[in-house]
């Protein structure tokens, strides 16, 4: 294609008032609503938003895989609507599941995409060695793609989309579910690409903390464009509006609850032992203002704004937020605030689980006290789910002891299960049943009958504000409501222990806050909560946590303890992710050291 006939290009990718709807079973979902964006050349643009924001739809429109209902799309000055094949021939695209052939080796996958992009045989050797150097996959050329770890698959997927040396790279959620170390490596590769080859990258992600790694950010929510700017520009608007509040004589959860009700407060989240507050005005609030009374030893310190703060501010400002999400009630029952007592509700000692000669979980020990929120943090494949299944009595342990609510799981798994509420990672209720039917079915599965069952169903509908949806089909509920229903179901039999498996993955920040307010209220009433997550930031909500990798526990303690362990001059204010990456590196050094 002769380059000289092209007009000067302003944007690598340009969408003008693009609308796209999907119709399924009589329902119409507007995935994108009059979205206009322009992606600039030679930089990394992040397409950021929670599940259902329209990120994948935008990517597929840009590749010509979908056609818009309205609007125009121009990719490298080619009209994607009328000439999809020309677009598909020049862009590099990595779909959500990487597009790898798992029964082909690394080299065979590269060969396939080289053939498809007609890369001359003579150029391949140098080309591959370049890509392998970048991705660190050189030692695995002969390995089947299906046998690679999640992080390596992601890098191979990226390499495959790069073989045609495309000027524009479209990456759809490349970092989802991958451990933080691989995530950082991937970001390093992407930035090197942009520098060395002056490539243009559009990358979608649901992780808000990745916004700061982009040169520019497009913020989407429920199909609508919230804004497009440099990440710093988003946070700049919030300058002087973020604070850490610490009150030594108050439980952090009670403190957070009170602050979030205060006027002039946009957002209040727990961060370690403190509460992070975002205010409407750039004025340092007084204790009087935020807790409605004198609190002499309360410390209020300004902190730097995060991208998530601005996202929440934008959402609360521009989106019609249902009133319930604005102020999710702490549970109406007047519960005495209770601090974790000394009693251990969950005891795990030297727990191991073998599959053949592979240890999915190895020598894991921890205890959880009553009313404590305890986290299991780790990437996919770290052993969290296996540990969880053993705690639920769904999978027998190979070695070690497991006691839940004073009951040994080896001898009386069913009795322990009656005391435990479980909320699975994916929406695991019956999508074809209505909300009320789901509640009745699951309560009867826990042997609630007659008047008592009716009472509990009424309670759930009222407590979770599901009353108006009692007859709605569960499948059609918005994600946040599905999650509420799942939590209600887990609480039907009034358990004193609650297991949550990746409870907020894919939920937008407001939904996540609402969910955690409910969880905090439960913890305040003495219910013990065990939660798994791969969201590093979610660890802040936990009283204590363990970090797992490759089936082992790397560290145990409060999130603050972990962060301070890795405080240095280079990193005066390490995040949970920094701590995690440092822990993994330390563990690997240790392995190398002991092997030598």
């Amino acid at each position: 294609m002769p380059a000289d006939t092209r007009k000067p290009i302003d944007a690598a990718l340009e969408l003008k008032s693009v609308t796209k709807s999907f119709h399924t079973k009589g329902r119409t979902v507007r995935a994108l609503d009059a979205v206009s964006v322009a992606v600039k050349h030679g930089i990394v643009t992040g397409l950021i938003g929670p599940d259902g924001a329209g990120k994948t739809t935008l990517m597929r429109l840009a590749t010509g895989l979908l056609t818009p209902d309205q609007g125009t799309i121009s990719v490298l000055n080619i009209d994607a609507v009328s000439q999809p094949q020309r677009v598909q021939s020049v862009v590099g695209y990595m779909p959500q599941r990487f597009g790898l052939y798992e029964d082909l080796s690394v080299k065979e996958n590269l060969d396939l995409y080289s053939d498809l992009h007609a890369v001359p045989e003579a150029d391949r050797a140098s080309h591959y060695s370049d890509l392998m150097r970048m991705t660190g996959l050189a030692p695995f050329m002969r390995r089947l793609a299906g046998k690679l770890s999640g992080g390596m698959k992601q890098k191979l997927g990226l390499a495959c989309s790069l073989v045609g040396t495309p000027p524009l790279l479209l990456l759809d959620e490349p970092t989802v579910g991958v451990d933080p170390v691989s995530r950082r490596e991937l970001w390093a590769i992407i930035h090197r690409l942009v520098e060395e080859r002056s490539a243009t990258v559009l990358l979608s992600t649901a992780y808000l903390d990745e916004a700061e790694r982009c040169n520019e950010v497009i913020l989407l929510h429920e199909g609508k464009l919230l804004g497009q700017d440099e990440p710093a520009a988003f946070t700049r608007q919030l300058a002087g509006r973020s604070f850490h509040v610490f009150a030594p004589h108050m439980s952090k959860r009670a403190l957070q609850e009170r602050i979030s009700q205060a006027p002039g407060v946009l957002d209040a989240t727990i961060q370690g032992s403190r509460v992070r507050v975002v205010t409407e005005q750039a004025v340092v609030p007084t204790a009087e203002q935020i807790v409605g009374g004198a609190a002499p030893d309360m410390q209020i310190a300004p902190v730097a704004a995060r991208f998530e703060d601005s996202f929440v501010a934008l959402l609360k400002g521009s989106v019609d937020v249902p009133p319930t999400a604005r102020a999710a009630p702490a549970f109406t029952a007047a519960a005495p605030s209770c601090t974790p007592s000394g009693e251990d509700v969950i005891v795990v000692r030297n727990l191991s689980r073998r599959f053949g000669d592979f240890y999915a979980v190895r020598d894991v020990s921890f205890t959880v006290g009553r009313g404590e929120v305890f986290g299991l943090l780790g990437a996919n494949g770290a052993g969290k789910s296996t540990t969880f299944r053993m705690l639920c009595g769904l999978l027998p342990a190979s070695e070690g002891t497991l006691r839940v609510a004073g009951v040994d799981l080896r001898s009386a798994a069913a009795r322990a299960r009656a005391r435990v509420g479980y909320m699975a990672q994916k929406f695991s209720l019956y999508g074809d049943l209505s909300v009320g039917e789901n509640l009745r079915f699951f309560s009867s599965a826990y042997r609630l009958e007659g008047g008592h069952q009716r009472e509990r169903v009424e309670w759930a509908l009222a407590e979770f504000e599901l009353g108006p949806f009692a007859d709605a089909t569960s499948r059609d509920l918005p994600l946040g409501f599905k999650q509420r229903l799942a939590l209600a179901v887990a609480l039907m039999h009034e358990p004193d222990i609650l297991f949550l498996d990746e409870p907020t993955s894919g939920v937008d920040p407001l939904g996540r806050r609402e969910f955690w307010r409910r969880i905090n209220a439960l913890a305040e009433r003495g219910i013990t909560i065990l939660v798994t997550t791969h969201f590093m930031e979610e660890a802040e909500y936990c009283d204590r946590l363990v970090i797992m990798a490759q089936g082992r526990i790397l560290a145990q303690g409060t999130s603050e303890e972990m962060r301070t362990r890795f405080r240095s001059n280079a990193l005066p204010n390490p995040t949970m992710e920094d701590a995690f990456v440092a822990l993994i590196a330390a563990a690997e050094n240790h392995q190398v050291g002991s092997a030598a």
Binding site: E108, A118, G164
Partner: protein, 374 residues
């Protein structure tokens, strides 16, 4: 441009070949399944009545009855069991221990010599109508042969004025294997052509690899061709294996020309591949694709192709439906080529029908495929 096209096509085909070699399930469907089906139908299932348990009731045993019943003991078709009374024999038939009763009354010899009418009684279990007819036929033959010998020995005139000289064409020994195996090959080809293709294309949609391949310079024609060519080769391989087994293992004669067999198989395979592609494009899900492929291609090939059940004896409405079952035409071609030879009058219209159907299915599959997700 042309060199690039060949490079892309080569890359896609090589990928497909590697996947076939590494995935035991596609090899199993293409090569192990035909062997198993052929062994079951070749050795296990037979439409011939053989070793039928038969009750012999001889109320007054003598030289004549002994010479008659001896015929049964020598026949490969019967396993005779002697019973003292008819009541006992009937009891055995109710218990399904025997499928027929031959009853020689006490006045057997007298009736024979008097030239009277048939002195034997025959009771056949009619639950399996097909079997019952076959037993009846065999028995009549045994009776006729014995009667002729008896009359000759006694110096009596022949009681049967016209001897039936039956000759069975195309399958002189009337073995059902010769008839079943060619039809079975059509079923096997449907399996590799439609089921395997439907599953592997749906798998690409399910795993998200199709989405990645769509966003490359490869055109939709190249993507379709890259699926057709490898599975065409695989299907012809399965075909070759089946023909070899038919001829050398089961001794089915191949009277037609090999070239005609190759040509008609190619056309049929294209037809099956077209159906498979169409199914996968519509369903995009391995489970659904497998279900649809079995219901709309494999089962009709089994039931409505004339492979086991004669089409002419079907009700008119069902017979009409068989016309859209591609396997029907191929079964006719195969049975003709194997058992009769190059009967052009039969083969040409059937091949034409297959050409038309292949065109329709491949055309529909092409029209249904787009380089888009909608």
């Amino acid at each position: 441009m042309n060199a690039e096209l060949i490079m892309r096509l080569r890359g896609l085909i090589r990928k497909e070949a590697l996947q076939i070699l590494r995935d035991p399930s596609s090899i199993a469907i293409a090569f192990v399944m035909p062997v198993i089906l052929l062994l079951i139908f070749g050795y296990g299932v037979s439409l011939d009545a053989r070793r039928v348990p038969l009750a012999l009731v001889c109320e007054n045993p003598n030289r004549d009855t002994a010479s008659f019943t001896a015929g049964f003991f020598q026949s490969p078709y019967f396993v005779p069991v002697r019973f003292g009374t008819v009541q006992e024999a009937e009891e055995a038939m109710r218990a399904r221990m025997v499928d027929g009763i031959v009853w020689l009354r006490s006045d057997f010899s007298r009736r024979m010599l008097n030239g009277g009418n048939a002195a034997i009684g025959l009771l056949v279990n009619g639950v399996d109508a097909n079997n019952a007819r076959i037993i009846e036929g065999y028995l009549q033959q045994v009776w006729a042969v014995w009667l002729a010998k008896f009359d000759a020995a006694q110096g009596l005139p022949l009681r049967i004025p016209v001897q039936v000289d039956a000759r069975v064409w195309f399958n002189p020994s009337v073995t059902s294997t010769d008839f079943l195996v060619p039809g079975l090959i059509a079923v096997i080809m449907t399996l590799t052509g439609a089921l395997l293709t439907a599953m592997v294309v749906a798998r690409e949609w399910e795993r998200g690899t199709m989405e990645a391949v769509l966003v490359t310079p490869a055109s939709i024609h190249e993507i379709i061709l890259s699926k057709l060519i490898p599975y065409f080769v695989l299907g012809m391989g399965g075909m070759g294996l089946s023909v070899a087994m038919a001829v050398w293992l089961f001794g089915v004669p191949l009277r037609g020309s090999l070239w005609l067999l190759l040509a008609s198989s190619s056309v049929f395979l294209l037809c099956a591949l077209g159906m498979g592609l169409l199914i996968s494009v519509v369903s995009k899900n391995q489970f659904v694709a497998g279900q649809i492929a079995i219901i709309v291609t494999f089962l009709p090939a089994f039931i409505l192709s004339g492979f086991v059940f004669d089409i002419r004896s079907m009700p008119a409405a069902i017979e009409l439906i068989t016309h859209i079952v591609a396997a029907r035409y191929f079964v006719t071609i195969l049975q003709t080529l194997f058992l009769a030879g190059n009967v052009w009058r039969l083969i040409v219209p059937n091949i034409l029908a297959l050409v038309i159907m292949a065109g329709i299915f491949l055309g529909l599959a092409r029209r249904a495929s787009h380089k888009s997700l909608e």
